[in-house]
Symmetry: C2
DNA sequence: TGTTTGTTCTACATGGAATAGAACAAATGT
DNA sequence: ACATTTGTTCTATTCCATGTAGAACAAACA
């Protein structure tokens, strides 16, 4: 997992970390059942504070991505099929609505959006286990 | 345009407003060439501060959605076809990547994502001019 | 000529973000 | 059994974003 943190960004560090861990899992660099590094080790590796990594882990837990076992580690959750009544589904739906609305207003055609979605999905799913 | 602001949300007011104006334009309730209300009038209408609305307008301008003419108004930009080298395209691409990564990790299948995208797009584009 | 417009400035209060250090009990390693 | 590492929970501090408030100004408008 290659993590790149930009301290000067307007996006909070813990959020940058959250998103990049998310992409890492989606790409298959991290798989279900595996554990994330300890908050102290990860923090030392990234050159950030322990509490910042901790906040990121709890953000991921709140979103249903990982499960934090006290005194043990942060385990990546199994990716089961998701239903429409799942609260996580609703959140994705809302986030998707915001992005698509902005895309449409900027002049994206429906076909362009579908094309972009397909290419991004392929990029993320395409090369499993690649570092 | 029906705007609903939740002051207690963890999403900043100016961002809630930005997103809802965005959706309003996407839906066709506001069309290119038309103007948004004055910052003072809109603020009074929503029960928020003038500066908050002002920040929202400038956020929309930064994203290429509206054009602010000093001493005049906030005009909705024309929605021309967008190219891949457009910086706004790149931003949408990045936002899309984040949402799709989260969706995949949560267990969305590729078909489910395409289905969600199609339904959201249809919902936004489906009923133009409907208040 | 008033009124409204967006802009700019100061000011203040609140809370998030990030860092830092310390302490604790539980889990792990040897 | 002992030492280390683990996540958690405190306190504390600094810096910045958010939101509100009030005032002033020049330009546009009626």
């Amino acid at each position: 997992m290659i993590i790149q943190i930009e301290p000067q960004s307007d996006i909070p560090i813990y959020m940058q970390l959250t998103n990049q861990i998310l992409e890492g899992i989606a790409r298959g660099a991290l798989r279900q059942g595996e554990s994330l590094p300890s908050v102290r080790a990860f923090a030392a590796d990234l050159g950030v504070n322990m509490h910042t990594v901790n906040k990121s882990y709890h953000e991921l837990e709140k979103r249903g991505i990982i499960r934090i076992v006290p005194k043990s580690g942060a385990v990546i959750q199994s990716q089961e099929a998701i239903e429409k009544n799942n609260p996580h589904y609703q959140r994705i739906q809302q986030e998707m609505k915001t992005v698509i609305a902005e895309a449409l207003v900027l002049g994206f055609k429906s076909e362009q959006i579908e094309e972009l979605v397909a290419s991004v999905t392929k990029e993320l799913k395409g090369k499993p286990r690649l570092k």
